[in-house]
C-alpha cells in the first residue's frame, strides 16, 4: 500500500516565504521526484517556468542570474531553493541563512511524511492481517461459498491496489463454474478450467500486455497476478488480479508480497469450498443413514414379532443383519390341522435394494400361501410375482418347509438354498440339498418338493449363507462342518438356547472381524406331542 503524498505543498510555501524574506522577484523550490528535479513555484511568482540546470551546484551560488541554495538537513540535500531578482548586496549571506532555515523545514517535512508513510504502511499490514482473520471467522460461520467468494475478491482487489479482479471456482460434477469479476473479466471461466499453472501455483506477470500468462494471452491488462485455489491433489479454481495502481496513475509491478497475500486468500477460499463439500456430504450421509434406519425399522416389522406356539413343535428364529437393513428373511405360518409352514430366504444384494426385495417376498408369500395347494405351487407363484414386480437381476434363495405332526413328515422345497441340517434323535445329521434353482433367477424355473421323516426328537436347522460364510481374521470361513458339529454338541438344548449358542459360536469364531452378510437361523424340533388344527 502506498500513501503517495509529496512535499510539493510545503515546497510552494517555502518558495513564498523565501521570496518575501530575501526580497526576490521570483522563487521556486526544486524537489527530486522520479529521477527529475520538479519545481514548485511561489504562488505569487509570474512568468515562464524554469527548468533545473543539468548540474545543480553543490554549494549556494549564482547561476545564470539566479541564486541557487541547497536545502540541507542532517547532511542530506532535500531540494534546492532558486531566487531571481534579488536586491541584496551580498546574496551568499542570505543564502546561508535561507539554506539553514528552509533546509530544516523541508527536512522536518520529509521526516514527517516518512513517519506518516510508515504509519500508513503499518496500518495497511494490520488491515491485511485483520482481513485474513475476518475471512477465517466468515469461513467458520457460513457455508455460502458464493458470498465468501465475493468477499475474498473484494479484499484481494482492495489490498493489492488492483484495478480489476476475477475469481473462478470450477463446478463439481458438471455443474457450471462460479465466476465473479470486478472491473472486467481477466480470464473467462472456460479458460481458467483448462489452465495449468506452473509449480507453486502462482504466476506474477508484469508484462502481461505482451507476454502470455502461463500460455494464455490477456488483452485487457498490463500486469497480472494469478494464484491457484487448490487443496492437495485437486484444483478448485483461480484467483486473479490485474493492474496494480499508484497515486500518480501509473501501473505498478506486482510483488512477491502481493502474491503471498493473494495465496493466503486463495487458501481461505479452498478451505471454504472443502468445508462446504464435506458439510454437504455429511448431510447426505446423515440422510442416507436416516433412510436406512427407517428401512430397518420397516424390515423389523416384517419379521415375526413372536413365534407361534404349536403342540408338538419347539421353534426358534433369529436374524442378525450386517447393515441397518439386510437381505435375509424368515417367517412362520401356522396352518390347518396343526401344520406349520416356515421359510428362510436370502435375497441377492445388500442394503435398501435387498430390503425392498425382502418386502416384496414377504408380501408375495402372505398373499399366495392360502391360494397354493403345494409348496412347489407357492414357490412358483412367488417366482412369477418377483418376475413381474421386482427389478431385474434380483433373485433369492429360499427354503420353505412344511411340518405335519400328524404324519411326522417334513415336506420342503429348497430353491438354491444352503443345505439345511436335519439332526436325528439318533445323533445322525442329514443334509437337505437344493431341489431347484433360486427364485427369480431364470424365466422358467422349476422346483421339486422333497419329503423327509420328522419324528419325535428330530431337529431341523435352516440357516442363511452369512452363517457358514462368516470369516475370522485369518479369512477362514466358519463353514458347514463347524455348524454341524456345534449343532451335534448342543442338540439337547431348547431351540432358543441352541440358536443363541450358535450365534455366539459364530461371533467368537469371527473374533471381532466385521461381517458382510446377514446371518439368519431357524430351528424346528419335534417334541413328541400331536398338533391341533390352527388354520
Amino acid at each position: 500500500m502506498l500513501r503517495g503524498e509529496t512535499e510539493m505543498p510545503v515546497a510552494v510555501r517555502i518558495a513564498g516565504a523565501a521570496r518575501l524574506l530575501a526580497g526576490a522577484r521570483r522563487a521556486a523550490v526544486f524537489l527530486r521526484e522520479a529521477d527529475a528535479w520538479v519545481p514548485a513555484f511561489d504562488s505569487a511568482s509570474e512568468g515562464p517556468l524554469w527548468e533545473a540546470p543539468d548540474r545543480l551546484p553543490e554549494r549556494a551560488g549564482l547561476h545564470e542570474g539566479r541564486l541557487w541554495v541547497p536545502l540541507e538537513a542532517e547532511g542530506e540535500v532535500h531540494g534546492f531553493l532558486a531566487l531571481e531578482g534579488l536586491e541584496a548586496d551580498d546574496p551568499t549571506e542570505i543564502a546561508a541563512s535561507l539554506g539553514l532555515i528552509f533546509g530544516s523545514v523541508l527536512g522536518v517535512s520529509r521526516l514527517s511524511r516518512l513517519v506518516k508513510d510508515a504509519e500508513f504502511e503499518l496500518k495497511a499490514r494490520l488491515l491485511e492481517l485483520e482481513s485474513l482473520y475476518d475471512l477465517g471467522l466468515s469461513l467458520a460461520g457460513q457455508l455460502d461459498v458464493s458470498s465468501l467468494a465475493d468477499e475474498v475478491l473484494y479484499r484481494s482487489i482492495s489490498l493489492t491496489d488492483a484495478r480489476k479482479g476475477t475469481l473462478v471456482l470450477f463446478g463439481e460434477r458438471g455443474a457450471p463454474p462460479l465466476s465473479r469479476s470486478v472491473g472486467g473479466e481477466i480470464l473467462p471461466p472456460g479458460a481458467a478450467g483448462a489452465w495449468e499453472l506452473p509449480a507453486g501455483n502462482v504466476v506474477i506477470n508484469n508484462e502481461a500486455s505482451r507476454v502470455p500468462t502461463a500460455g494464455v494471452s490477456f488483452t485487457d491488462c498490463e500486469k497480472c497476478l494469478l494464484v491457484s485455489i487448490a487443496v492437495p491433489e485437486r484444483r478448485l479454481g483461480v484467483l486473479a488480479v490485474a493492474d496494480k495502481e499508484s497515486r500518480d496513475g501509473r501501473v505498478l509491478d506486482f510483488t512477491t508480497g502481493d502474491a503471498r497475500l493473494l495465496s493466503l486468500f486463495a487458501n481461505q477460499v479452498a478451505a471454504a469450498v472443502e468445508t462446504t463439500r464435506l458439510h454437504r456430504e455429511a448431510i447426505e450421509k446423515e440422510r442416507i443413514e436416516r433412510e436406512l434406519e427407517l428401512a430397518a425399522a420397516i424390515q423389523r416389522q416384517l419379521l415375526p414379532r413372536e413365534l407361534p406356539h404349536l403342540p408338538g413343535l419347539d421353534l426358534a428364529g433369529a436374524t442378525r443383519p450386517t447393515r441397518q437393513v439386510g437381505g435375509d428373511y424368515f417367517d412362520f405360518f401356522p396352518l390347518s390341522r396343526g401344520r406349520l409352514g416356515f421359510v428362510v430366504a436370502d435375497v441377492s444384494g445388500k442394503g435398501i435394494p435387498a430390503a425392498l426385495l425382502v418386502s416384496t417376498v414377504h408380501a408375495a408369500i402372505h398373499l399366495q400361501i392360502d391360494a397354493s395347494d403345494t409348496i412347489v405351487e407357492l414357490v412358483s407363484r412367488i417366482d412369477r410375482h418377483l418376475q413381474r414386480f421386482s427389478a431385474t437381476h434380483k433373485f433369492l434363495t429360499l427354503f420353505f418347509g412344511l411340518v405335519d405332526p400328524e404324519t411326522s413328515v417334513l415336506r420342503y422345497v429348497s430353491a438354491g438354498h444352503n443345505p439345511a441340517l436335519l439332526a436325528r434323535a439318533s445323533g445322525e445329521v442329514e443334509r437337505l440339498h437344493a431341489t431347484g434353482v433360486p427364485v427369480g433367477l431364470l424365466p422358467h424355473g422349476s422346483w421339486k418338493e422333497e419329503t423327509a421323516p420328522f419324528e419325535s426328537g428330530d431337529l431341523l436347522c435352516v440357516y442363511s449363507d452369512g452363517f457358514t460364510e462368516a470369516t475370522n481374521a485369518e479369512e477362514e470361513e466358519f463353514g458347514l462342518d463347524r455348524l454341524r458339529q456345534a449343532l451335534v454338541d448342543r442338540v439337547a438344548l431348547p431351540p432358543r438356547d441352541l440358536s443363541d449358542d450358535l450365534f455366539r459360536e459364530v461371533l467368537l469364531f469371527a473374533q471381532g472381524v466385521p461381517q458382510y452378510d446377514d446371518q439368519t437361523l431357524v430351528i424346528v424340533r419335534r417334541n413328541g406331542q400331536h398338533g391341533v388344527p390352527a388354520r
Binding site: M1, K123, L127, R155, V182, S246
Partner: protein, 118 residues
Amino acid sequence: MNETCRVSVERRGDVAVFWTDGYINNQGGEEIAREAYSELDRGARALIMNLEKTRIVNSIGISILIEVLEKVMERKAVLAFCGLTPTIDKTFRIMGLAQYAAIYPTEQEAMRAVGAPA
C-alpha cells in the same frame, strides 16, 4: 460492480451530501476529492459521504480520503461517512480515518448529527 466510480453531490444548505457508486481507487478518490474541494470552496461547512453503493476501497482511495479530511480540517469543516459495509467500516477505523471523521450507520443519522436542514 462498476469499474469507474460515479460520484454525485447535492447541497443542502451548507452541508454537501456525496453519493458514491463503485470502486474508490485512484480514479474514484480523485473524483471525490475534486467534488469535495469544490464544495469547500463554495463554503460547505460539512461534507457527508454516503458509501452504501461502494464495496471496495483501496489504499490509494484511502490516502485521497485522508487528504480530503486534512483539507476539511484546515477549513474548520467536518467530514462524516455513512452507509459503510462492515469491511469498509473496519478499514476506515484501522487506517485512521475514523479518528477525525465521524461514521454513522445511515444518512439520516449523519444529517442529524451535523445539523443539516431537513
